[in-house]
Assembly symmetry: D3
Amino acid sequence: MTITAINARNQFKGRVVEIIRGPVLSEVDVETAAGIVTSVVTTRSIDTLNLEVGTEVLTVFKATEVLLARF
Amino acid sequence: MTITAINARNQFKGRVVEIIRGPVLSEVDVETAAGIVTSVVTTRSIDTLNLEVGTEVLTVFKATEVLLARF
Amino acid sequence: MTITAINARNQFKGRVVEIIRGPVLSEVDVETAAGIVTSVVTTRSIDTLNLEVGTEVLTVFKATEVLLARF
Amino acid sequence: MTITAINARNQFKGRVVEIIRGPVLSEVDVETAAGIVTSVVTTRSIDTLNLEVGTEVLTVFKATEVLLARF
Amino acid sequence: MTITAINARNQFKGRVVEIIRGPVLSEVDVETAAGIVTSVVTTRSIDTLNLEVGTEVLTVFKATEVLLARF
Amino acid sequence: MTITAINARNQFKGRVVEIIRGPVLSEVDVETAAGIVTSVVTTRSIDTLNLEVGTEVLTVFKATEVLLARF
């Protein structure tokens, strides 16, 4: 099914630069304009989405998941 | 207390460009190198952190919160 | 941008049956085959997605967000 | 301790149909009225809850974790 | 429905000491042995669970939601 | 970069008492005044933060991640 829009306000395009596969979950590192965004997804999803190094992806996260820190 | 390091792999610097205050939660929009990152935090935190438009902040989110989509 | 696939393993179709708008966040109740799925999203997203009662939507959530309980 | 009610608005009953064990986290697939709900929990929890294929469980997730997409 | 066990490894008992009601979400502050745990839940849940100042509750959160920081 | 304050309202100090390493994610158990708080973080973070049994850490989680249950 094709999705035309998703509510998450945070969506950044990038390219997969590394995948670390685990038995259940895998880490996917995505190079974006802001730097590397790291995602942990089920290993099954890696295969379902057919992700590999070089794949263009959209990283998506909800606003409620973002913390703010002062430095 | 000063924090010297936090485990979240996703940390992006930016500047607050808008705050929408609600009675319990508020939306904070932060301009980063990748574009606007939107965060929803408790309104109390806005005051505790003394956030206002122009404040430099770090946006932080865990790798487990990031979804990946193909387009 | 059109998304062709998203990694979240939990995706259920439904129809919006109620929207409770708040200043920052809104509650959207979606009738699915399993019953009502409740989502809280930014009020801005309601407008961006042009959601109203009757709209068909996909509810999406990550596997890491699901708790299991015995009863 | 017996819990009489939990605040999460999303609670769906089902039956465990598959468990993929990892060293730290495991995937549990639960068949519900809406289809398979996938959960990732600590492997320790699998043992503490004594989960196995066939166990009846309640899948629980917070409304703030649900994204909405149009298709 | 009575729940006999839930998988979340983090469960701390406490007593509600403050409720800040919003139109959609409300903040509930719970005094525990470790100090105040703050929870944000839907306002509907406040009513469904019949929460008020003084109510004994269990605060529950998944291990995947916890960040670690050095100081 | 040193962080002077973070918005998450839930921050509890403790000492690492156990680490279970996985290929992608690891479990870190932290003894706090309220009991053990369990965190799951990327294994890379364990190394970046140089965490080991005995390390003093701050456990941090957002108010939106906390569920409330009655018992």
